[in-house]
């Protein structure tokens, strides 16, 4: 009993402000998105919960009167293609770096690590010129092509760490049977690396879904935008009273990631720590 009180006082009471700090903006976003304008813009009403009944009006406006559904489609297509391509490229590179011996393995590993640390805000201006020369400016393909610049280093790094935990003996057995490296990679290593691959897919998809700077810089037509940029730059209209649909947009746009996260939290945790801790 005393131990329980002690635990509550030294652990659960101090951790509570952190939990509230982390979640409150989301709670408030959800509450706002469900409130009628009359209540939303009455400074005397309590903003912390809904008093005058919930409404889906803001969501209706979003789906019917904006390009929101279009942005959803764009974001999904870009994220899916960029993610799958980057995980395949990353797996091949990781396998080479973790398992094969060749001249230059060291410098290559360092190069991957260095590009992993280069922030997009250092590159977006010249990258916009490259995108332009490829004839992809103002196209969603500009994003499919550029997102791998931060996904490939991350996936390679993550999967390298993961492949090192798979015993080599399994591959050696297959080699005695005369299997080619590529067959070994697809038939033996990849199935064993499924948890690592799931982690890479999840992280890559999450990165793509929320990417903001490249999408903002490379795409100028409203109907080609991705969700994050569309919600931030196109939902803000001339009048003041847009907060309801703005919050509804943020909630709906975050929803797929929230669902993935709720279902597969452990993969997120392992990916997050692998990114920084494992050498």
């Amino acid at each position: 009993m005393l131990a329980a009180v002690r635990a509550a006082l030294t652990t659960y009471v101090p951790v509570l402000p952190f939990v509230v700090f982390a979640l409150f903006p989301y709670y408030h976003m959800a509450v706002t998105s469900l409130k009628a304008d009359a209540e939303l813009y009455n400074p005397l009403k309590n903003p912390l919960w809904i008093q005058d009944g919930a409404t889906l009006d803001h969501y209706r406006v979003l789906v019917r009167e904006t390009l929101f559904s279009r942005w959803y489609l764009n974001t999904f297509a870009v994220s899916a293609i960029a993610t799958v391509a980057s995980v395949i490229i990353g797996l091949l590179a990781a396998y080479a770096l973790a398992r094969l011996r060749f001249p230059g393995v060291g410098p290559f590993g360092v190069a991957i690590f260095v590009t992993y640390l280069v922030p997009p805000s250092l590159l977006f201006l010249p990258l916009a010129i490259v995108v332009n020369h490829l004839g992809l400016s103002d196209s969603v393909w500009s994003l499919v092509v550029t997102y791998p610049t931060f996904l490939v280093p991350f996936n390679t790094w993550l999967l390298m760490g993961y492949l090192r935990t798979i015993p080599r003996e399994l591959e050696e057995c297959a080699m005695i049977d005369g299997c080619a490296r590529f067959v070994i990679l697809t038939r033996i290593v990849a199935p064993l690396a499924v948890p690592g691959l799931v982690c890479a897919l999840l992280f890559s998809f999450t990165f793509c879904w929320g990417e903001f700077l490249y999408s903002l810089a490379f795409i100028s037509s409203a109907e080609r935008r991705t969700l994050a940029v569309g919600v931030v730059s196109d939902l803000i209209r001339g009048d003041v009273f847009y907060w309801g649909s703005l919050m509804a947009g943020a909630v709906l746009a975050s929803l797929p990631i929230v669902v993935l996260y709720a279902l597969l939290m452990d993969y997120y945790v392992s990916g997050l720590t692998a990114g920084a801790v494992k050498g």
Binding site: A7, T10, V15, F18, F21, A22, L23, P25, Y26, H28, M29, L40, P43, N46, P47, L92, A93, I112, F113, T115, L117, V118, P119, P120, S121, L122, F124, L125, P126, A128, I129, V130, V145, V152, R168, E172, M175, I176, G178, A180, F182, G210, F212, L213, L216, L227, A228, V231, V232, W243, L246, A250, S254, I257, V258, Y261, M265, V269, L272, G279
Partner: protein, 318 residues
Amino acid sequence: MPDAGAGGRELTARGRARPLPRAAPRSRRSSEARLAYAFLAPAALVLGGLVAFPFGLALWFSVSDAWVGEYGRFVGVDNFVRLLGNSIFRQTLQNSLVFTASAVALKTVLGLTLAVLLYRVRRFRRLVRGAVLMPFVIPTALSTLGWWWLYQPTYGVLNWVLRRLGLIGVDLPWLSDPSLAMASIVIVNTWRGLPFFAVTLLAGLVAIPREYYEAAATDGAAGWRSFRYITLPLIKPVLGIVILFSTILTLADFNTVYVLTKGGPMNMTHLFSTLAFQLGTAGGRISDGAAVSLFLFPVLVVVVALQLRLVRRQTAYE
């Protein structure tokens, strides 16, 4: 040499097996190398064409007078000299320092505290970890919109709570007063980066053998003393990596500032990235923009060098 002597047959990149000649190890090695290069080629193409090449372009732009659509001619360090003489740029330099130093310091202190607390949480462990990790997972630009709404002076919840508690008489202009705006973006950046610190440091805490604490306890050291003399020294390498990593991410932050203030009021919250964006895309002054983002480069070099040393030292322990 784990795959030496694999049954007297050599494997080629195409997957056909042929009988091994006498010089087996060497030819095996060269075919392995060819395969490795083939596997690395797609990654090399992406990173060479879309990271290294644009980076080279950025270097060129920063020493040329390029405007939209042209490559410009060499002007030496003119862009940098002009930037350093520009009051907006000097303000940005100062903002970046204040922003990065205070956000990283806050994240370190709060992150370490949160990691220690998470380490002790037994019941509801998944729920608590799941909750504090949320800001890292949800797209930043969207959750920053939520903060924008919290900071709204008239209808925002922050001023409402402060009014209710009797702490303020008039509404605070969170995003339009220079120092409040800086504080506001520091808070949001801290909020977003805290989970990364907490979860990574937690992994470091879990790796510390329990026996150390038990031995310390028998010697009468507990609480703060065991934290100071056992936890802190042992978690230092991880802490170092996390701080370095976060320094570059914080300094290069774009989303927070763009969504909340766009660099205002009066350029008091501009960071390198937002100023580069404003000059390069909105203003069409690509060379100036590139020169501004290149100021991130020296910091990046230092961080990468230290990071590599730390990572190598850590892997050497394993």
